[in-house]
Structures are given as structure tokens and as C-alpha cells.
Subunit: 600 residues, 2 copies
């Protein structure tokens, strides 16, 4: 039996004590307070635990069924989805005018995402994608499109997908061949094949709204000639009420030429369809300007990148909780300093230093990532501030953090899932105990929405130089201010000193990457992954130092004592990996590039 | 379609150029030469590729069937097993008097094991276990037992298991409750339940010979009161011919009270049964002296630990080969310095530094592990030398290397399988391409035969102080000699210097572990895993420096050029992790032990 308790206390600490989320949200115009946040968090945690968690293993075992172009989900998934939809849990962040709750983005992007993924990753993907489509649509779609589709998406009645990858074009979208031919009526006809389309076909919603990247005739080469199209699975029969321009009414009864020709067999997330989608002269509407498809899709992509990072955290958290429960229960051997439970045949395995080390690595990385996630979530709201300075700063930091949240969270999460399996020994490898599913499910998070290697290149090759280096400067200001403030506080020195060293190291490595990278892009690309991991560690170090700072004031309270002990573990047992990473980055590109290619 | 080519050239290099395996084997009395080794290696590689590889994915997909206490394997596995048995491939290392080929252990333990695991890990486990039972039996069993069982085991007609774990006793064997009651006829009756018994029940052989740990009445507490028993599934009907003492003929027609009450559902190795075995008043014979069961089982266990390390390597190798094939074929993006294949729509992904980095990490770790495996294999033969000094030295090094081969190979192999999946992006996660199976299968290797945490404790807590520290001294002699020899050779300094630093670091860390560990065992146990990984890296560094030394003499030959480039990659891109490991070890036990237990 899989256990789970949502980290409510931790979120309470992060949003209320560490980041002042409520005053910020109120200043941004949200009708929101601390009680409402608690109610939301607890409500969602209860719902997810009661409705999503019990069917997670079933979803893994039974998966989906593909039959003649249609995918059917387990009936239990359909009723769970409907229950969540009816409870309003799928549209918390959507605007009230479309039927949503209009709560701050940070709740949806962080709390909702983590708890949703912990309890049922396969299920959680569907509303996450739908919300991504909704957001792009309401920001960039023409009014008639928004009017027609937004409410259905917000309610979860219809779902959304993002269609990028083609058989020959994954990371390299510049070479896609899906075509969109403009029609006299203002619509387009879209034709092409897309692969790896999550929830491209399923039977949990009445319609599926695809956002499709395609090229129009005569468009520029490469990514500059790509536009974005909204292509629904069904052209709805109540068409005329939608006031959509340019389509003859006869078409609406027909299907729209959207078909699914297969679903991938995968290592995990068995209840999350991964589809081959064919668009055959399908009616579509352009979203946004011609040839701006990549930028628009990247808006959705960035949202999904953050969501994917949260998936890592969500699965790492539930893996941790279950290995911990095992460790508390399992009795093997004795404390090296003498029996702790002399009346029992053996002590529980929490007495063993190596077991504690493993559990602490999991716990401390999870809590560090959660803190950074909370900050990022609030920045997502601040991006839309009317205060332009605030918005610029938030936009810059989100740009910087996105590849790190995606890559670092998921890299660490895969390691954490493995560590947690290891705590359980043979039981960890057996289906019965649940953790092996998390180990398989979480692995996709390193691949989805741009592999982590691509994230690292995005960080090192774009984000640190973008905006004349402003992204990084906006981070360095609060970071160096924090370090200065704590320089002479003796209790803080065990945290502040290594943080300072890490930040100095990051600055030096950044300069090295930029300087050498200009002369030789291979240098930058050879070090990008290690640089991203270094950066991720520095951000977690900042989070842990901040958490330590708060906790020092409250010594004696078990929650804060644990935070302080965790911060110590972080700086002594996790953060030192930065030293090796720096050495690898500094070693440059030669050993990577000079290996004779034909001898691989 | 999964690809595989056995690393024949690499083994040729290792056994003939690097380690002089043939002269050593001949000196030890084997009728063996280089041509015979080539013939064996190529013969086995061909057989495994033709017979084992094609059914590996089938085994994963179809798995085994458990029905009323009987397990049936896929028919394709049965015929493949028979084909290997008939070809003599399952008994190469058994003695000619029992029908084996009598080849040196290193072939069986290294070459056979790696290729067997690469092509079909689930299958390879069965003969590996059988060989372990055979070896314990012929060394410690009474003549009548050996006469009866050895030939059947050597031929592969019967198979073997090791029965240690019980539901409440995994790592902590001192608390097992299986009982063995002595009978007047000299046999024992064994009663108890064992779990996680690999191939405890199956239908590929006519009989299954279990080696079972159990306690006799009045035996001392803990591991000192455990004895080892041979318990066959069937008491054979041709009993009288076996000259086995002490059992009444009437019994023989009966079954022996050995039953299988279940088989675990697991994340991987679906075609390798993991059984719950019940012994109910089953006839057994003691092997070895009373209360020496742990030591005897450890002989087998150590053999299986090395085999498990080789499993890691075998799966990491085939994962590498398949991700490489993908990378050569997949075209995405352009070389950052300009198109390499301007006539194609994109370059193949080998042009990308981060892809090369991933492939090199896999390749270089695999080849380093293979070199250490080759050395260890030869030492396994030298352990049985008539030259007592040679035997002592070999025994000491094998004792030292066993936990490292087990833990470091499998830790690195799991990382490698993940890295190779990453090279393939979404395809890596899909069943069709095969690598996801390797990722799942290899994960058990960190758990089997004592988790890697236990290996690390064995290394740090026992092996480095055992024999008054001789194990380590026998390593340091050739290692420091090598460093001295190469101190003034300019071409060697890029390898020799970091190796020297690493060895110095290892010595300092060892002293620290011993000194602090005496005062506080928590210190030693908190650093054990990082120490084991540090040690593994130093051994691989030694291997790479030795390979570089040979290769420098042969610059211009592509094979040696690649080795030299790989050695450079190792020292610049892998070995630096030792710096972080040292920092973590030195940080001591406080952050691990002082975290408040109730706050986990």
C-alpha cells in the first residue's frame, strides 16, 4: 500500500514565512489570503489523495487500450477525472470569466503540480497540458477563438495538447514538414504527422484541442518559418453559436481529419497516452502572427518545463515518503554503538548511517527544490505585475530558472527515486511496494519538453547572456545582498561561507563559459550540463541558507530544528559536488571533441 | 532491433597485452593458449548473440508463468538453454572430471559473464548460480555428495540456488529462523521459508539444488550458529547408484517437501524467477562443518558479487552500443562550428558536444571497469596457485576488489544506462528500442548479493583493516611502483599526476576512516559509500593510466589512439568527482547522525 501525505506544513512555511506570497498576491490584485491558500492546499491534498492516489498503481498495471485509432482509458481514470473536474480542481488558475477560480499561478504551478504528480503523474499531465493550451489561447488567440474554446478548456470538458515533434524532427524543430495551407475563409488546412503527443487521443474529454506547429507555403527556412495552429479533434456541431469566422457550416458535422495511428509502449507512465497523430487536411486556426509559432509554443513549452520539474519533485517526494515508511518499519541489524531497541530482535534500519544518508539526500534535495519552486511560482505571478520593474525582474528570473527547475529538479529526482529504492533493498525492486513505479515514471521527466542537455544549453548558451546579462544580474543582487547581510553573523557562517564560495565559483565559471564560448562554442556546449548542475546547486544553497536563517530564530521548535539540520546536511553532503563540477567544466572541450569519431 | 557486438578486441587487448593472462594460466597448470582463448571468446560471443540475444526482449515481455507452485519459462528460453548446455557453454569453468572444459576462471567470470549478461541477463543468472553451487559443493561437500551432484550441475542438467534471505531477515542473516534437525541417518530435515530466491523454481532443468542457510538445534546465537545444507527439489529415483549415505530408499520416490508459494512481480528481469521457497521437513545434507555456513555461503556470495558487478558492465555495454547506433543514425541540428553533412537536412547528433560527453562517459567507464574485471578474473585463478605468496597476494586483492567490483560497477552501470537512454531522447523511453529494458534490468544489480551500501561497509569496515591491512598493502605496492616508474616520463604525466594525487588522497582518507572509525563507528559508516566510490575511481584511474602507457607506444594505430583519448577523458571528466567525494567523507558523521530521527 502506497503512503502519501502532502507537504502542507512545508508549503505553509515557504509561502508564508519565506516568501510573503500572500501580500504579493494581494498587491497583484488577487482576492486571496492565507486562509484561502490553506483551504485550497488542504482541499486539493485531500482530493488528490482520495481520488487520484488509489488508482495510480492501477493505471500503471492496466494502462490504456489502443483500438482502431481510439484510445480508451481505464474507467477508474474517467470517473476520477470527472470528479476532479466537478470539484473545480482542474481550473484553479483559469480566469473566473471562463469558469476558473482565478487563484494565483503559484498555487497551480507549484502546490497543485507537486501534489498532483505525487498522487498520479499520468493523470496530472492532462490538466497541465490543457492549462498550457488555455494560457496561450487566451493571450494570443483571436476573440472568436477564445470565446469558443477557453471555457471548455478551463472547465476540463475539453483537453489540450502540444504538437511539436515529428519522426525526423525532435529537438531540431527547424526541419518539421507539417504544412498549413491558408483558405479563403481565413482558416488553414493542416496536414502532417506528429509523434510523442501526450494525450493526443483519449476518451476522458469530449474534444481535444491540438496546438500544432506547421509551416505555411513560402515560409522562411528553419524555425523562423513556423506558425502555430489550433486544430480541434472534432469540429463542434453547435458551431454557429461560437461565432467563429470563416468556416462553412456543412463541415462541422464531419470529423476533422485528426487521427491517432498508434500509441508508444513505454517504460512508465502507462496511463498517459503517447500518440502518433495524423492531421489530414484538418481545419485549423492560426494563433498569433504568421511565423511566430516557435515563440508562442515556447510560452507553453516553458510552462510545461516548469511543470516537468515539478513532476520530478512530486515523484521524488512520494518515493521518499514510502522508503521512509519502510525504513521505520524494517528491523535489520543493530546500531553500531549498541542496540537501540533491545527488546526487539533488531533495530529499525534508521539507526544505520548509510540509510540515514540516503534518506537525508532525498529529503534535503526535495525540500531545497520545493523552496526554489515556491520562489519561481511567485515570480510567475509577478511577471504580470503592472509595476514594470517588478515584471521585468520576475520575467528575467523565470527565464533563468526555467531550465534549472526543469533539468536540475528532474536529474536529482531520478537519483532520489533510485536512492529511495535502494533504502528498501529487494522490496524496492518489487511491484508490490510501489516505489519501482515512481522510478520508472520519473525517468521521462529528464526527456520531456527538451532533454536536460537542451535545458543546459538553453541556460549556458542563451539565458546567461540574454538581455545583456540582466537575467543573471537580477539574481546576483539579492544573492550578494543576502551574503553581505549575513557575513558577520556567527551562527550563519556555516551556511553563508560555502554559499559565498559557490556564488563566487558560479561567477567565475560564467565568465569562463562566456569568454571561451565566444571563441569556441564547443567549449560552452561541453561544459553546459555540469554548469547547469552547478547553478542548480547554488540556487538550492541559497534556498537552504535562507531557510537556515529563518530557523535559527526558532531553535527549539522541532520543525525549525529539522530545517537547520537539513541545511547542515545540504552544505556538507550535497553542495561539495560543485567542486568536481567546476573541475570538469574548466577541463574544457578537448577531451570531448578530440576523441576520434570513427572509433566510437 | 537491438544491436550487439561483443567487445572481443578489448578482451584481446586486456588479456594479452595488459595482463599476460596466458602465461599466468599456463604457469597455473591450465592447458590453455591464446588461440584457445580467442576461439572460446568468439565462439561464446557468436552463440550468445545468435541464441540468447534474440529472445531477450521476448523474455521481458512474456516473463514467466506461476501456476500452482510451478513456474514455467517461455519455451524459447528452454530451447536456448538446452542449446547452450549441449554446446558446453554452461560449464566452461567446471572440471573435466565432471564434464566441464576446465578453462581458467577468468574466462568464465569475466568474458562469459559480460557477454552472457549483455545478450540475456535473465538467462545468464541461472548458470551463474549453478556454477556457484558447484564450486562450493566440490570444495566443501563430502565425496558422496560431490559424486552425485557435481556432474549434473556441471552439465547444466540440474541448476542451483542460494537460499539466504527470509521475510524478516535480509541483510541481517543472524536472525534467520529456518531450522535443520539432524536425523539418525546423518541427513537433516530442513524447515523454513526463504524469499527472493532467484530461479528457486523453474522448468528449464530436471532438478534444482538449493544451498540453504539454517540453524541446527542448540546452535549459537546470530551468524555464528548458521550451517549450510544442500536440499534438492527432487530426491532422485536412481538414488542407490549415488552411494549417498543415510537415506532410506522409500523416501526417494517422494517429493522432498520443497515448494514455491509465489514469484515476485518486479521492475525488470521478468524472465528471471524470484521465488518464495518453502522447505517443509525437506531432506538435506550438511555441506562443510557445523556452524560454518556463513563462511561457505560467503564463498558463493563473493563469486555472485563479482558476477553481479559483471552484470552491471554487461548491461551498460549493450546500452552504450545501442545508444551509439542511434546517435550515428539520428540527424538533429548542426555542428556549432558549421554543418558537417551539408547535403543532409541535419548533422548526426554525434557532432553535439553534450551527446559526445554522454557517450564518452558510458564508453570510458565501461572500458575502465572491463580492465579491472580482467585483472580481478586473473587473480581468481591465481588464488589457487601452488605458489603460496602468489595465492596470498591474489586472495588479498580479490577480497579488496570484490565489494568495489560489485558496488562501483553497478552504481556506474545504472548511471550509464540512464545516460544512454538520455542520448536517445524519447526513443530511449519507448519499449521498441530496447534500452529501457536494460535500464530496468540493470537496476537490480545495485541490490543483489548485498546492497551497495553493504558492499561499502564491507570495504571500509572490514577489507581495509583485514589481515593487518595487508589487502591494501598488496595493492599499494604495484600502484606506487607504477607511479614511480612513470614519474619522469613526460608523455605520462597527464595520467600519472592525477593518479598519484588520487592514490595519496585514498591513503589519507583510509587513515582517516580507520582512525576516526575506531573512536566512532558512525564516522566510518557515514563515509563508507563515498569512500567505496572514491576507491573505485582510483582503481579505474590505475587501469586507465596503464592502458595509456601501452597505447602511447602505439600512437597512430586507431585502437590505441582511441584508448589514449579515452584515458584523457577519464582523467579530465570522470576522475575529478573524487575531489567532492573526499570533501563529503571528511565532513564526518555529524550531519548524518544529528538529524532528529523523529523529524524524518
Amino acid at each position: 500500500m502506497v503512503e502519501y501525505n502532502a507537504p502542507i506544513r512545508d508549503y505553509d512555511f515557504l509561502f508564508n514565512e519565506m516568501f510573503d506570497a500572500i501580500p504579493i498576491a494581494q498587491r497583484l490584485g488577487y482576492d486571496f489570503d492565507s486562509d484561502f491558500l490553506s483551504m485550497l492546499t488542504e482541499g486539493w491534498a485531500d482530493h488528490a489523495k482520495e481520488v487520484w492516489l488509489p488508482i495510480n498503481q492501477l493505471g500503471d498495471r492496466e494502462g490504456l487500450k489502443f483500438n482502431e485509432g481510439r484510445i480508451s482509458m481505464p474507467p477508474e481514470f474517467k470517473s476520477a477525472y470527472n470528479s476532479s473536474r466537478e470539484g473545480g480542481w482542474l481550473s484553479a488558475a483559469c480566469k473566473p470569466e471562463h469558469g476558473g477560480m482565478g487563484v494565483p499561478v503559484f498555487f497551480q504551478a507549484v502546490t497543485w503540480a507537486e501534489i498532483g504528480t505525487s498522487t498520479n503523474m499520468a493523470m496530472s499531465v492532462l490538466p497541465a497540458l490543457t492549462l498550457g493550451v488555455y494560457d496561450v489561447l487566451i493571450e494570443h488567440g483571436e476573440k472568436a477563438l477564445v470565446d469558443y474554446f477557453a471555457t471548455h478548456l478551463a472547465s476540463g470538458e475539453w483537453s489540450g495538447t502540444m504538437c511539436l515533434t515529428e519522426p525526423h524532427a525532435g529537438t531540431d524543430l527547424g526541419i518539421i514538414s507539417t504544412k498549413a495551407i491558408p483558405q479563403d475563409d481565413g482558416t488553414y488546412r493542416v496536414t502532417g504527422t506528429k509523434i510523442f503527443i501526450t494525450y493526443g487521443e483519449h476518451d476522458m474529454t469530449d474534444n481535444i484541442v491540438h496546438l500544432v506547429l506547421a509551416k505555411t507555403p513560402g515560409a522562411p527556412e528553419g524555425t523562423k518559418g513556423i506558425s502555430l495552429f489550433l486544430v480541434p479533434k472534432f469540429l463542434p456541431s453547435d458551431w454557429e453559436s461560437g461565432e467563429l469566422v470563416g468556416i462553412s457550416h456543412e463541415l462541422c458535422a464531419d470529423d476533422n481529419g485528426v487521427s491517432c495511428s498508434g500509441s508508444e509502449e513505454k517504460m512508465g507512465i502507462h496511463a498517459s497516452p503517447t500518440c502518433v497523430m495524423n492531421f489530414d487536411d484538418s481545419v485549423g486556426w492560426r494563433v498569433g502572427e504568421l511565423n511566430t509559432g516557435m515563440a508562442l509554443m515556447f510560452q507553453m513549452m516553458n510552462q510545461e518545463r516548469l511543470a516537468t520539474g515539478m513532476m520530478g519533485l512530486g515523484l521524488a517526494e512520494i518515493a521518499y515518503q514510502n522508503s521512509l515508511a519502510w525504513a521505520k518499519d524494517r528491523r535489520q541489524g543493530r546500531d553500531l554503538k549498541g542496540p537501540q531497541d533491545p527488546n526487539e530482535e533488531a533495530d529499525n534500519i534508521l539507526v544505520h548511517p548509510d540509510v540515514r544518508r540516503m534518506l537525508l539526500e532525498a529529503k534535503v534535495n526535495n525540500e531545497g527544490c520545493r523552496a526554489l519552486a515556491a520562489w519561481t511560482g511567485i515570480l510567475l505571478d509577478q511577471m504580470h505585475s503592472d509595476d514594470l520593474e517588478e515584471a521585468e525582474l520576475a520575467t528575467a528570473l523565470v527565464a533563468l530558472f526555467t531550465p534549472i527547475v526543469k533539468a536540475h529538479f528532474t536529474d536529482v529526482a531520478c537519483e532520489t527515486a533510485s536512492t529511495c529504492m535502494q533504502v528498501m533493498g529487494g522490496a524496492g525492486y518489487c511491484t508490490e511496494y510501489g516505489v519501482e513505479q515512481f522510478y520508472r515514471d520519473v525517468r521521462i521527466s529528464k526527456i520531456w519538453e527538451g532533454t536536460n542537455g537542451i535545458q543546459a544549453l538553453d541556460l549556458a548558451g542563451r539565458k546567461i547572456t540574454q538581455n545583456m546579462g540582466k537575467n543573471l544580474r537580477y539574481l546576483m543582487w539579492p544573492l550578494t545582498e543576502f551574503i553581505e547581510e549575513n557575513r558577520d553573523i556567527p551562527d550563519m557562517s556555516e551556511f553563508n561561507k560555502p554559499l559565498h564560495q559557490g556564488v563566487r565559483g558560479l561567477q567565475q565559471l560564467t565568465l569562463l563559459m562566456i569568454a571561451e564560448g565566444q571563441a569556441n562554442p564547443h567549449f560552452l556546449a561541453s561544459g553546459a550540463t555540469d554548469y547547469c548542475r552547478y547553478f542548480g546547486n547554488v540556487l538550492l544553497a541559497y534556498m537552504w541558507a535562507k531557510m537556515a536563517k529563518i530557523s535559527i530564530e526558532k531553535i527549539g521548535d522541532p520543525f525549525y530544528d529539522a530545517k537547520l539540520a537539513s541545511a547542515r546536511f545540504f552544505f556538507k553532503r550535497i553542495f561539495p559536488e560543485t567542486v568536481s563540477l567546476a573541475a570538469k567544466i574548466q577541463s574544457g572541450h578537448k577531451t570531448v571533441m578530440e576523441f576520434p569519431t570513427e572509433m566510437f
